[in-house]
């Protein structure tokens, strides 16, 4: 019964974005610009390393660059969430009165928004990259499927993790600090700036100890074909593991937060 | 004597997107008006009639599509900065004050902006603070003020540099009765003391009655009436309405002299009577009602702008 409600939420999150066409176009220009600059730099780096750098060749690096740019609209690396605003204004108490789980509903509409953003931002960015530069793609249909699943998992995981930032609002008056910190750290560790395989060992260890690479880096590696077969399934399993953990924490945090609101008087 | 405002065939069009096509909307059409120094003019009309657009052309924000306009003898667009020293504008919806700074800071900044000498700044600020009673919230950030307080501060800000012309765009909108009263009294006194010219756009007939000697009525961009309020009411035959609450229900008051019965509520407890203020006073109508029953409470409704405007339009067809 509630499934229908969640589906509607997803669709609504989807639809809300369709009004921002001009903004999407502007975003595409931004993606293309950064993409081309990164291509210039990272290709030169690969060239200077004799054709391969940290397991990337030019083709897989190109895939990395364009998919990471395209995912910017879908993976929430800004740290800002609607739930944080609703807690601050007090509207969250209305949400608690509804028969939907606040935690899951919030994540669902965020995912809806993110999935929609793939259309004006995700696909065109990749298309432009493919046209202008060319990129590596998976060579078997199975790899495409695994890649798509990994992509969706990454998006859901990012929505679930950033929810925790917003949930801090149950205890802190101002979540701005945490949101900014999240924004700075998440992008870097998710592999937005450079592939994490290029990190020095200690930094790489730090990154893999967080859910961030699972949001972006792993789906990209699977979709570019850099990682395949059993290893790709292993990455997907890792994503699922993180998702379960983060969802669990989110549930606990929401329940505790709700109790706190009730005690305080909302 | 040079006019404070003079427009000749002033017009302004906008191109708007209507679905897939673009169409041209005429916001102001062939406006020719002359306002002398010291006048108090009410500029009324329905929403979208072109009032804000005209003000923007008077102050140099918008370039006219047709015709010409001169404000304080200057060309608004070309001489905008010189004109800014002569004109003070109060926007009802937009604030000229610095939102998160104390009111006092806004005044200091504005004094610097208008290059007022310290002596003039001090004297003028004191005068305005006293007459608009701003003392209690001079140190409060603007965003924490109530609407009434903010409007008083805005008026003071607009008048700080003692402009020759003051334009007020819906200044009393949303204010309670007392605040409106105080603001109007201040503006009347200011005019008397300094001879400032006043141009006021408003929906509120109370504003017009108490502040203006002349009315410009605009209907879809063009001038429908230019004259006094009394003249307008007479032209249009607008009536005031007396609403009486009676001690006990009374049959419909159909034969109160010189009054027209509009309706009854509560089985005759509350009754509405319309009358022409030129031929009979409210007091006389009230006297007529009192002969039929004891009056507990009463209210008088002024003909609202929409009603007058509607009648003017009806007359123009």
């Amino acid at each position: 019964m509630f499934v229908r409600a969640y589906v509607r939420l997803l669709v609504a999150g989807f639809r809300r974005q369709s009004t921002y066409r001009l903004a999407a176009l502007g975003g595409l220009v931004a993606n293309t610009t950064f993409g081309l600059l990164k291509v210039a730099l990272l290709f030169a780096a690969i060239d200077a390393s004799g054709g391969e750098l940290a397991g990337y060749d030019a083709a897989t690096m190109s895939t990395y660059i364009w998919i990471s740019q395209g995912l910017l609209g879908s993976v929430n690396l800004s740290g800002r969430t609607e739930v944080a605003d609703r807690i601050r204004t007090g509207d969250i108490s209305v949400d608690f009165l509804r028969p939907l789980d606040v935690h899951l509903a919030s994540i669902t509409s965020e995912v809806g928004r993110a999935l929609f953003a793939l259309i004006p931002r995700g696909v065109p960015a990749v298309a432009i990259g493919a046209l202008l530069v060319g990129m590596a793609v998976p060579d078997s249909p199975a790899a495409y499927v695994v890649g798509a699943v990994s992509l969706v998992l990454g998006i859901v995981l990012s929505a679930a993790t950033v929810y925790l930032v917003g949930a801090c609002g149950f205890w802190l008056v101002e979540t701005r600090g945490i949101a900014i910190l999240y924004m700075i750290v998440s992008g870097f560790l998710a592999g937005l700036f450079v592939p994490i395989a290029m990190f020095p060992d200690w930094l790489h260890t730090v990154a893999t100890a967080t859910p961030f690479p699972s949001m972006m880096m792993y789906p990209i590696d699977i979709l570019s074909g850099r990682v395949d077969g059993a290893e790709s399934l292993g990455l997907v399993a890792l994503q699922v593991g993180w998702l379960v953990l983060v969802l669990g924490v989110g549930q606990l945090a929401t329940r505790a937060g709700r109790r706190r609101l009730e005690v305080q008087g909302g | 004597m040079t006019a404070i405002i003079e427009t000749d065939g002033l017009g302004r069009d906008f191109r708007v997107r209507d679905g897939l096509r673009r169409k041209t909307v005429v916001a102001v059409d062939d406006l020719s008006v002359r306002i002398e120094p010291g006048e108090a003019v009410g500029y009324i009309g329905a929403n979208g009639a072109g009032k804000s657009t005209t003000i923007k052309m008077l102050t140099g924000i918008l370039v006219p599509t047709r015709g010409s306009v001169t404000t304080c003898g200057l060309r608004p667009v070309a001489d905008r900065r010189r004109l800014a020293r002569e004109v003070g504008v109060v926007f009802g919806q937009r604030s000229q004050l610095w939102w998160d700074l104390p009111v006092r800071d806004s005044f200091r900044i504005l004094a610097a902006i208008h290059s007022l000498t310290p002596a003039v700044e001090r004297a003028r600020t004191e005068e305005l603070v006293e007459r608009l009673e701003l003392d209690e919230f001079l140190g409060t950030p603007v965003r924490q003020l109530s609407l009434g307080q903010r409007m008083r501060a805005e008026v003071a800000a607009a008048l700080l540099h003692s402009p020759r012309l003051v334009i007020l765009d819906e200044p009393t909108i949303g204010l309670d009765v007392l605040s409106k009263q105080r603001l109007r009294e201040f503006l009347v006194a200011e005019r008397q003391a300094h001879g400032t010219t006043l141009l006021l756009t408003t929906h509120d007939m109370g504003d017009v009655e108490r502040l203006c000697d002349r009315i410009l009525l605009v209907d879809r961009g063009s001038l429908a009436y230019d004259g006094t309020l009394a003249g307008l009411s007479r032209t249009v035959g607008a009536e005031r309405v007396l609403v009486v609450d009676l001690a006990s229900p009374v049959p419909d008051l159909l034969d109160v002299p010189q009054a027209r019965h509009l309706g009854s509520e509560g089985g005759g407890l509350r009754q509405r009577l319309a009358f022409d203020p030129d031929t009979v006073t409210a007091a006389q109508v009230l006297a007529g009602v009192s002969e039929h029953g004891e009056v507990l409470d009463l209210a008088i409704e002024e003909p609202d702008v929409e009603e007058i405007v509607r009648r003017v339009y009806a007359g123009r067809r």
Partner: protein, 272 residues
């Protein structure tokens, strides 16, 4: 009107800025937070450059030591420009709320009012990262110190600040046409900042046209460093081009002011 002294003419702008600075200091905890996050952002951006350059001996003719200097110069110039001009990106907010009209009622030029309407002190922290990078870069690189070397550095830093400032003004002027498309100008303002920290020699021709000459980001740091370190030039970019940084700044300001004027005319519906 009497001829006013410099002090009197700048009084309105100083008054607003002073009030803004006072206001920023009163929000202590937020201010500290902003300082800390600016610092962190600067560090992460430096880390990004460092991660790439540590994997190779040299890239585009620059080694790690050289790129640190490039990064530092570009970042300091950007941070200082951002401090004074960064808030010009609030113009879309003014446009949507209609509050730009308030600027028209004041006897000052519109652009000057916009530029002096705020100042972001927290950018100072980010400038700190850049300054450290510059100092480190100057010490670990092999520089033939002379009066002309110092002159080149000072000239490029000043030109870099002016160029980035012009980018902010250009973006603001473009907002009159773009409104919701603000991200398009971000592509060139933030993309430009990113480009300024790169070795332009790795760019292909289209990129060189866009970020080398049209939005002259390469002149902010890369080209001066090439000149300073006596490195060989690359296609279209001879090694002495670093001395032309002031010309690049002039060009960018011309572009910015033209865009601003066109934008304002469009807003007013005028133009003749």
């Amino acid at each position: 009107m009497a001829d006013l002294s410099i002090a009197a003419r700048t009084a309105p702008y100083r008054a607003v800025l002073a009030a803004r600075i006072r206001a920023q200091r009163t929000y202590r905890s937020n201010f500290l937070l902003d300082l800390a996050s600016s610092l962190l952002i600067g560090l992460v951006e430096l880390a990004e450059v460092w991660v790439v350059f540590r994997s190779v001996d040299s890239l585009g003719g620059l080694d790690l030591a050289a790129i640190v200097l490039v990064f530092g110069l570009a970042d300091v110039a950007y941070s200082l420009a951002d401090l004074a001009f960064g808030h010009c990106d609030t113009l879309p907010t003014y446009l949507r709320a209609g509050t730009l009209d308030v600027f028209y009622l004041r006897p000052q030029p519109l652009l000057l009012q916009l530029v002096t309407s705020d100042i972001s002190l927290r950018r100072l922290a980010r400038a700190g990262v850049g300054v450290v990078a510059v100092v480190v870069g100057l010490s670990i690189n092999d520089i033939a110190w002379s009066a002309s070397a110092v002159g080149l550095l000072v000239l490029s830093l000043a030109s870099g600040v002016a160029t980035f400032a012009a980018m902010f003004v250009w973006a603001a002027g473009a907002q009159f046409f773009l409104l919701d498309g603000a991200e398009a100008t971000n592509a060139f303002v933030y993309g430009g900042r990113y480009a300024a920290t790169q070795p332009a020699s790795v760019w292909d021709r289209p990129l060189k046209v866009v970020f080398g000459f049209f939005f002259p980001m390469a002149f902010a740091a890369y080209l001066p460093v090439v000149t300073l370190l006596g490195l060989p030039g690359s296609e279209w970019m001879p090694s002495w081009l670093g001395w032309c940084a002031p010309l690049a700044a002039l060009w960018m300001w011309g572009l910015a002011l033209l865009t601003w004027r066109t934008g304002v005319r469009h807003y007013q519906g005028g133009g003749g």
